[in-house]
Subunit: 433 residues, 2 copies
């Protein structure tokens, strides 16, 4: 027999059943949080036309894309690829179905996306993302920026994080406005990249990178001052005023950030949101509000949920203006991190609640009736039909279930059954008809 490699391909998640059950529980919890907040769930195909996927993206994305090719010679020549995020398919979906949707369109998407990332620990090529977005028709009030972030916060709350989380919120118009006023617009792309990268390198490296662009020291000081701004509404308001800038875009960004923070913390009551001007989501397509989510004491794992406002979601597909705001929880990577830091433990979980163990094949019918009654009580019940001796059945039960229930002739006659806790060994008597 030719030896075939049976490991899953690198960069994919494959879990044992008990861990899969925990993953599913978290995924469902996020879905329920989105649903409770009135977000309508959709699913788009995993395969899209390449021209749809790359209409806006290009660059890094294009390099990471997985093309899909039929092997048959009769294959149509369509150029297709696997989606790499939920935002591009959402743009296509919204344009395709715009006449049948109600706006603002509050929409959630939970599913797998694909990127040909370099394989390394904690990096995934196939990964779940859980997205919540709100799309407006022509306009979308800023209040929805706060609502999107608050909803994602509720979803994150279902996750067994090792510590509490907090949002870092900013607005890209502030840095854009500053660059306009400092006549640095032509270096905007580079500077956004440097600001975005600043937390990953030393302050000296950031300074050197800015100097390398030929920016004068006075302007660099302003940029450094901006990057250092962080805090609640009142604090950042004073610090932003101290920058002495007055351009229209800058002021619009400051006003939007203040209002988004007010709505988020005071109106919607989201705790632990701080404004932080280092947040710019460098290479993304955001145009206003941007945010990241960190876990206290675990800042090293990076943002577990990020997003922002994009002024024109579907600009590449439709002349209709469709402003949106939303964010995404990277669940596969996060689940990996939760295991790594011990917040999720497979050993504590059993996939099944009760194993029903018939003493002999003649009792299968009685055991099936018992199993049906336990299921009607909402329990997950594995009816063991292996025909093995009771000891073997119990050893099997201990691996998959929390409880075992033996069905023998006496139990069937009396209607009284022992529900044995397989961890503690304790047995509780229950009556079944």
């Amino acid at each position: 027999m030719k030896k075939i490699n049976t490991s899953p391909i690198s960069g994919t998640q494959e879990l044992l059943p008990s861990l899969q059950a925990e993953f599913n529980r978290l995924k469902s919890g996020i879905a329920e949080a989105f649903h409770r907040h009135g977000f309508q769930n959709i699913e788009t195909p995993m395969i899209e036309r390449t021209e749809v996927l790359l209409a806006k993206a290009g660059g890094e994305t294009e390099k990471q894309i997985y093309k899909v090719v039929k092997t048959a010679e009769t294959a149509d020549e369509a150029d297709q690829a696997l989606r790499f995020d939920h935002t591009v398919p959402l743009a296509r979906y919204t344009v395709e179905h715009m006449n049948e949707l109600a706006f603002p369109f509050k929409v959630s998407q939970i599913g797998r996306n694909f990127r040909g990332e370099r394989a390394q620990k904690g990096r995934f090529r196939e990964f779940y993302q859980c997205d919540a977005d709100i799309i407006g028709w022509g306009t979308l009030p800023l209040a929805y920026d706060a609502e999107a972030i608050a909803t994602l916060g509720e979803a994150i709350r279902v996750l067994p994080l090792p510590a509490d989380f907090y949002f870092r919120v900013s607005n890209r118009k502030i840095l854009t406005g500053m660059l306009e006023e400092l006549n640095l617009e032509n270096l905007a792309e580079e500077i956004f990249g440097i600001v975005d990268h600043a937390e990953k390198v030393t302050p000296e490296a950031t300074l050197a990178a800015l100097e390398e662009l030929g920016i004068g020291s006075e302007k660099i000081e302003k940029l450094q001052a901006l990057m250092a701004i962080r805090g609640g509404r009142k604090e950042i308001s004073e610090q932003l005023a101290a920058l002495g800038l007055s351009g229209e875009k800058f002021r619009a960004g400051v006003a939007e950030l203040d209002e988004a923070m007010r709505l988020l913390t005071e109106v919607l009551g989201t705790p632990n949101a701080v404004a932080d001007l280092k947040i710019v989501r460098g290479l993304d397509y955001y145009t206003g509000t941007v945010f990241e989510t960190l876990v206290y004491g675990y800042e090293g794992i990076g943002s577990i949920c990020s997003g922002g406002r994009y002024e024109n979601l579907a600009g590449n597909y439709s002349p209709q203006s469709l402003p949106g705001v939303g964010g995404s929880i990277g669940l596969t990577r996060l689940f990996y991190v939760l295991q790594d830091c011990g917040a999720v433990k497979a050993t504590e979980m059993k996939a099944v609640e009760v194993c029903v163990l018939p003493m002999a094949p003649e009792l299968y019918g009685a055991a099936a009736k018992v199993a049906e009654q336990l299921r009607a009580q909402g329990r997950s019940v594995d009816l063991v039909l292996s025909g093995k001796r009771l000891g073997d059945q119990l050893r099997y039960a201990a691996k998959v279930a929390e409880f075992a229930l033996v069905v023998g002739e006496n139990e069937v006659k009396s209607g009284k059954f022992g529900l044995k806790n397989l961890q503690t060994g304790e047995t509780t008597e229950i009556e079944l008809g």
Copy 2:
């Protein structure tokens, strides 16, 4: 702007939110049924090594496979493709993790698979399958064949079928044994194909196909007699005896079918199971029990859940014998059929329960508190922050939700709110703190 085609690629399912909600409800219902029956859920990657996918398959499957290719020049040269079913990845998974699994391994898989089918109405290239399988270590008692079918029956019961369903059960050993005894083993593949196809063509065409193989009329009569056998345990037992065959394999198949039918109907209490010797699952890898599921009066849509026993699941990956039995509900195609026959109607469903409509932005905080209370009652609540006039908000609410609740100054003062049914116009007063 270059015009980009925003329709989903052909052969994929893309639903509006209200239909998606119904699809999700059915998918969850199936998952819950599997879980209630003690099946542990797993997910495998959608991308697999091509050598894993094609280790056994080949032929038609190979033609339909979607290969996956990274566009970057740095791509590793791994030959990878999208999975086309759940069975092959399950075989790989079971071998890969066999030392960490408990056997019999009762396992469910619900997810999308991919086949490059010719695009046509009701045929999908990307489709959900819901599988339940039981894998034994070395051996697997026949009782699990019945348990797998019974579990799939419970899962099918959650679907809004236009009429009741029934299982057609058979055992491939019966036809195999007959062919051995008739010295037709060398034509087994062709004959299995003809029997499998018999319901799709006229009896004359089946006869002609058998004659074309050069089979004598006496043997053809035996084959036709076998294909006509259908009914409960007693009926088929008599009819099978009347064939006058006595080979070991034939008798083993007859005994297994009788026992599987007994376990299924009398022990596990599954209604509506008939034995039907026309069922052979022609081109599949089954070795014993085989079954299909039809809907009364809708036989034309074909089997909605099929499966069977495969004596050696992982023969291509491991010397360990891993016999299995299981089946699959083709949910995407079934959902399409349910819409087509009117059993699922999008218009009857709203994705959201209550829209909370603040009369003015000053009331956003009060409205958020009201929304939170309704959510705590388990409701799906959309807090409308569009800032539009109440009439516009109500028109939006009517599109997405079942109820609307207006938050004005009076309501906030009194704590009494009107919950308006958007279909009937009826308003119920509710009190919120």
